[in-house]
Symmetry: C2
Subunit: 347 residues, 2 copies
DNA sequence: CTGAAAGCGCTTACAG
DNA sequence: CTGAAAGCGCTTACAG
């Protein structure tokens, strides 16, 4: 009964074993185990007991051969390195993880050809759906509408309206930050927006602008500054800002790295944060926000929840409901000392 | 844009379809496709062509039902948040990814019970092997020897010698750093080791101590300092160090966050880096090392390669070879300006 | 309620 | 070299 003796594989327990022990046919055993109602209760108990004592685990391949679902979804990421993909993956994994669905992980390394291959491989494995996780909020090429399974896009939206995408609400994030600054009495607000090539940067600027107008204010210098997402740029542009607009009383930065740079320069120039100037960033990257002097207020993108939402949507799409479009998900402001501290309660 | 109405494929292409088109039996088709040698070459070509035109993809479940391998491995991580797990996963995914093996991802969130459940679920899915990725180099509980598939541990080693574990060589890392400092003429070296509760911290101290002895030197202050892995601690303990040992000419830090703190305090105290004092860290976390003033020399743990190695080992273990023990993998020093810059060529 | 039988799509001895 | 047949482990009409 054994296989090749090299592997010394113990034959695993099959439904036949369970049926034999319970004294029923495999058909009945199957029904009992799957909760079909055409089984006498006493019989079902007997089968369940038998399965229990034998530690029976149904062979998923045999099951899949008879059922429409494989119980796996593919997660396609373009950059595992990127820190944005991670929390999203956590959320998605979390939403599936505990259930009967498993996540097949693929990293395309930002290479389109590699991505194509991975999609093919995932489909060959008969995944029930695909979740595509990107590293920036700019639209990415759609996988197309001809795939045999539903697809959702997380963080990086598809460029095709027919697809469903989930992205953080960067516009609202910009507005949230401004409202907080204004509520704290700030009137001369500068915006160090980051890299204009990123939709995230532009969206945040849009939200900031809106909220400022609503408050009857204008940006210091008349417009946002754009530059690399780095501490170095944050330091440099903040120095320029202090020269050109020494009266500035708040510096809002496009991400936490820029904000770290701003904090450093302000400190070196003798400006006290938050007494003289308030500073805030975006992304709420803890390693940066909690250790700065002072700790940094930041807009958190709620990425884990975004991943969870995307996964849940995929679930429903698998069950037949589909609709397209980009869904923006709420973000939240995390207030720390750089804008007066948590007791200053915003939002 | 004409719509192709033939795309209504309910039933997917099976081997039977291929066989029919090629005018052979499914048995022959199977052999041809699988490279069995008992097939006439002309026949094989015909089958391959048929498969090609039909875009045939073998059903993996049917295949798995007949073969000893499922073609999937489980990756069990205790914390997707942790930045160490990520590059390791990338490496592992990379080693498998392109091949016929897929990675099933599970995150146990550091919860033992959850981990147990995930292992069970992965085994139920008939994974061919398990790769357990931890977030610190301290030993973790073994999954035990009773699992039906091979297991390898990455970063966090198993506490059971019978298991195979891959960890970065922190001892050698400590030595590497010291050798570099000494080669640069440093004689009064301080060690801000980080959290003594971590094996990584203690191992690095051990390597540092060894290398110092070899050079006939001693640590400034006679011993390493221990504290939290934070910039704040790095700042504080560096201030103390400058008070107690103003002659210090190198500060080696247990990780990059501590090193960032050290750099800041040195700068504020008017010490020039690297002219007066050299500074180096561990982990080579780019967001921290490349944007500091000056950019920070750091020992890189080569985590992606570690993940790749672990995955490859699992491959071989699946093929039957097994042996236990903890394997330490090489790390490397990345020299930046904080120790004189790359041209100062160390290692 | 229960079970014999067909079948999911593929592979592999085993005869031709 | 090729194919008929058995079988992998399970599910589901379909008869009892």
């Amino acid at each position: 009964m054994g296989r090749d003796s090299r592997g010394e594989q113990k034959r695993s327990i099959t439904l036949t074993d369970v049926a034999r022990l319970a004294g029923v046919s495999v058909a009945t055993a199957s029904k009992a185990l799957n909760g079909r109602r055409q089984v006498r209760d006493e019989t079902r108990q007997r089968v369940l007991a038998a399965a229990e004592t034998l530690s029976f685990t149904p062979n998923p391949f045999a099951q899949a051969l008879n059922m429409p679902r494989s119980g796996t979804v593919g997660m396609l990421t373009s950059d595992l390195e990127g820190r944005f993909a991670l929390p999203i993956m956590m959320g998605a994994e979390d939403a599936f993880g505990s259930g009967a669905t498993s996540v097949l992980l693929c990293d395309a390394r930002g290479d389109a050809e590699r991505e194509r291959k991975h999609v093919e491989a995932l489909l060959a494995r008969r995944v029930d759906g695909l979740i595509v996780v990107g590293s920036r909020t700019d639209p990415r090429p759609s996988l197309g509408q001809r795939l045999p399974v539903p697809v959702v896009y997380a963080y990086a939206p598809s460029d095709d309206d027919a697809d469903v995408s989930f992205v953080p609400d960067n516009i609202r994030g910009g507005a949230l930050a401004v409202e907080h600054l204004v509520a704290g009495g700030r009137r001369r607000i500068a915006l160090l927006a980051g890299d204009a090539d990123y939709a995230a940067a532009r969206d945040r600027v849009a939200g900031v602008t809106e909220a400022l107008q609503a408050a009857g204010l204008e940006l210091v210098g008349g417009a946002a500054s754009f530059g690399p997402w780095s501490e170095a740029w944050g330091r440099r542009v903040t120095a320029e800002l202090l020269d050109s607009d020494p009266e500035v009383d708040a510096v809002l930065c496009g991400n936490d790295q820029v904000a770290r740079g701003a904090l450093e320069t302000l400190r070196e120039r003798g400006r006290r944060v938050p007494e003289d100037v308030w500073v805030a960033g975006f992304d709420d990257w803890e390693v940066l926000t909690t250790s700065s002097r002072p700790p940094l207020t930041s807009v958190d993108m709620n990425l884990e929840e975004l991943g969870r939402t995307a996964a849940r949507h995929l679930f429903h799409a698998i069950d037949g409901q589909r609709h397209g479009g980009i869904v923006t998900l709420p973000v939240r402001l995390v207030v720390r000392e750089s804008t007066g501290g948590a007791e200053n309660g915003a939002d």
